[in-house]
Symmetry: none
Subunit: 452 residues, 2 copies
């Protein structure tokens, strides 16, 4: 039987305050995986929340923080897998928040907190969707639902791939909804088919046993300069990455990908305004702008060296550090890129630089012609009243590859975000209206999944 859509929708509408309270409870735990505090406390709360909503649960230890697993059987053999994460990005800079990042505050129709959208808000919206389907379906689910909620997505998901490989039978499923999703600026639900891979590294160099007076700069090596030159050897102002072989396995968009991009609205003007810029890198505009994410990147996350307080200090820094991420397109392999990077640094004379690998993810991209994509598109249009946007690839990374490959399942997106959600930034928030739309959409996908 198929649940009444009206019943699901009204259940969600009436319950929204309760779900906001659950979200506030979850956002109160500062589970910043980069800092590594409060992680088990947050995993325990996620497990309690899953139990509260009727799931059988388990926690799995990993080499990092635990993965929380939840499962609820359905009336059919089919199972849908929902992937989320309970860790969040660092809250800094604190002074740019209008309310404390770990005290959820509702104002102007939105809940503000670190994690309000990414990814605690997404997780709670899915719990709500499951509740609604059961409520409208006599307490039962038409398909099985499996939750995988991990704790290190924001630091590159270093252990989730191994968790999947070790639990293939437990995670056996027929499709998956990814950790995040949402609505376009013109109100269309977004279905994202591809995500880029990423390789994150840190460079450290120490040239002197201690900082020296800058009067000695004719003789003494400066750590900051070493990193500046090493970085300049990686990429020039034309944005072309100079590591030999870097582009070898980077595939350009196919004709079908380009057609999807053409069908998408352009947010060019809006993104320029949002970031206060005159033009995009490489002067990209039109289709080049829309398909820019097929260009892999080499991004400096941060650089620190020497004295950067008020005024000046006549010092030669002994140490310098830089963090870098490379976003990779199908079929670039972060292991291969890491090897090429190391060889390049060696060849360019930068063997004094100590490279630490912070994390890696592989790129992944689904095809547009499978039934889950069609279901998501149809239910999306039903809820949002506008056709879905099918996006061939986007800029970010996610461990989609870790599930899609070994489990051999299609992966789609649906969720509670919008372009102004400020994920990873101060004043992150979820709009209550988006929360409702997202949970309605996911309820319909779960409700329809047995029949495709």
């Amino acid at each position: 039987m198929v649940a009444s859509k009206e019943q699901m929708d009204s259940y969600l509408e009436q319950g929204v305050n309760g779900y906001m309270a659950e979200l506030a409870e979850l956002c109160a735990i500062p589970s910043v995986s980069a800092k590594g505090e409060n992680m088990r406390e947050c995993a325990d709360l996620v497990e309690r929340m899953l139990k509260r909503h009727g799931f059988e649960t388990r926690q799995f230890e990993t080499a990092g923080y635990p993965v929380v697993f939840g499962h609820l059987d359905g009336e059919s053999e089919r199972t849908i897998l929902l992937y989320n994460h309970y860790d969040v990005q660092p809250e800094e800079p604190l002074d740019l928040w209008d309310s404390p990042p770990f005290e959820a505050t509702i104002r102007d129709g939105a809940l503000y907190a670190r994690g309000a959208k990414d990814d605690k808000g997404e997780f709670v919206a899915r719990l709500a969707a499951v509740d609604a389907v059961r409520e409208a379906n006599g307490g039962k689910l038409p398909c099985g639902v499996t939750f995988v909620v991990e704790g290190q997505e924001e630091t590159g998901s270093p252990h989730v791939a191994q968790f999947v490989r070790e639990n293939l039978e437990l995670l056996k499923s027929d499709g998956s909804i990814w950790e995040e999703g949402g609505v376009s600026p013109d109100g269309r639900p977004i279905n994202l088919l591809g995500l880029r891979g990423v390789l994150s590294v840190e460079f450290n160099v120490q040239t002197l046993s201690r900082d020296a007076h800058s009067g000695g700069a004719s003789k003494l090596p400066n750590a900051a300069w070493r990193l500046v030159w090493a970085l300049a050897s990686l990429k020039g102002p034309d944005e072309r990455i100079l590591i030999p072989g870097f582009y070898d396995n980077a595939h350009p968009p196919t004709e079908l990908d380009l057609q999807h991009f053409r069908d998408l609205p352009s947010y060019e003007e809006q993104e320029r305004t949002d970031f206060g810029i005159k033009e995009f890198l490489r002067g990209a505009t039109g289709l080049d702008y829309k398909s820019a994410e097929f260009q892999p990147t080499c991004n400096i996350q941060g650089f620190e060296s020497g004295y950067y307080g008020k005024g000046m200090k006549t010092v030669i820094p002994a140490k310098a550090m830089v963090k870098i991420d490379f976003r990779l397109v199908p079929d670039q392999d972060p292991d291969d890129i890491y090897e090429k990077l190391m060889k390049h640094l060696q060849d360019q004379g930068f063997s004094d630089i100590q490279v630490t690998r912070l994390g890696a993810m592989w790129p992944s991209k689904a095809t547009a012609d499978n039934p889950l994509v069609a279901l998501t598109a149809r239910t999306g249009e039903e809820v949002y009243g506008k056709p879905s946007m099918i996006v061939p690839i986007t800029g970010g990374s996610s461990p989609v590859y870790a599930f899609a490959g070994p489990l051999n399942i299609p992966v789609v997106t649906a969720g509670v975000g919008y372009i102004g959600s400020r994920t990873h930034s101060p004043n992150e928030h979820v709009r209550l209206s988006d929360f409702l739309l997202g949970s309605r959409h996911i309820a319909r996908i779960i409700d329809g999944f047995a029949g495709i």
Copy 2:
């Protein structure tokens, strides 16, 4: 008449406790110019001390702290100018001091306090030298002595050049002893003929109205990359500075300069050990090492951008900042270098970088063949029992140019320091034996100055 050297020396030896008491009184005032407290109180004490030793005094207001002026006529028309400063470096870190920084303590034959050597100890040693010359000379001085004691040497002497330009007649003199000096590790008095200039600047760039997720790095400009490329355009790994015209007025050492360097002992091995390095920049060794300060520099003092905490943050930094100093050799002009830097950045496409000028000093170098240098060398050997070390130029900067240029006078160094004085560091001290040697040496220079 020439004073009896024995009489001067024994006067100083007998009086040393009294001078230590005066030094302790002066060190008790925490005149840290970077903090800006107690500055007038210290200027007033310096003025009272000058009066106490027979000088006519005045205080001159500047845009910063007062300059204390003192003058005592001599029997001849010739006048020697003594430059000192009453401000000191910050006392931090406090926990590394064995006795409170502003309570002078005598132990193991040395007086410990912030300013004990730099520069309050130097100042008191000169008062002692003047007393000794008068004592041995029937109460008279063979030449006039002028003191200029300023309050902002430790923060780059921003106002002393203007003070000199506005008081050329008052400061008219025939030679000068600079604020600090002392003895080499092997007991030779050091005579320093040149100091480098400096231009300090800060680069700031903002590429986005706020930090962005690094998934956007195919399209959004990164502030850290802008500074990396701008810096790489200033200097390459071969240490050659790439600003067009940078070296135009940079004079290499003369044959006489090189001869002086050859006569100096080498601290190459010691400096390598001290900084834990295998080799110096450009592989400099031997004479290249000794004369390295004839190479002007472009030094990164510090670099800050984006996220540099633990782990990683997938962010595109909107802002980046770097502080740089250029050490300049005769006859480079910081105004000219600043203009060339600005033009270079413009020409290289970096007009998005906002450049702030933090400070400037001009290089200055006396020639080795003037009579004051010869007098200082001779009296140094007489007092220390070893030949003087004549150093053509050193790495640091000092407002020597502010006096040497407009007054057209040779400037030499003599003083009370040694390599372990810990100036600018915890446990700064002056050894009583160095105080006596330094004051004897300066007494002989003053005594002999009328006759050269």
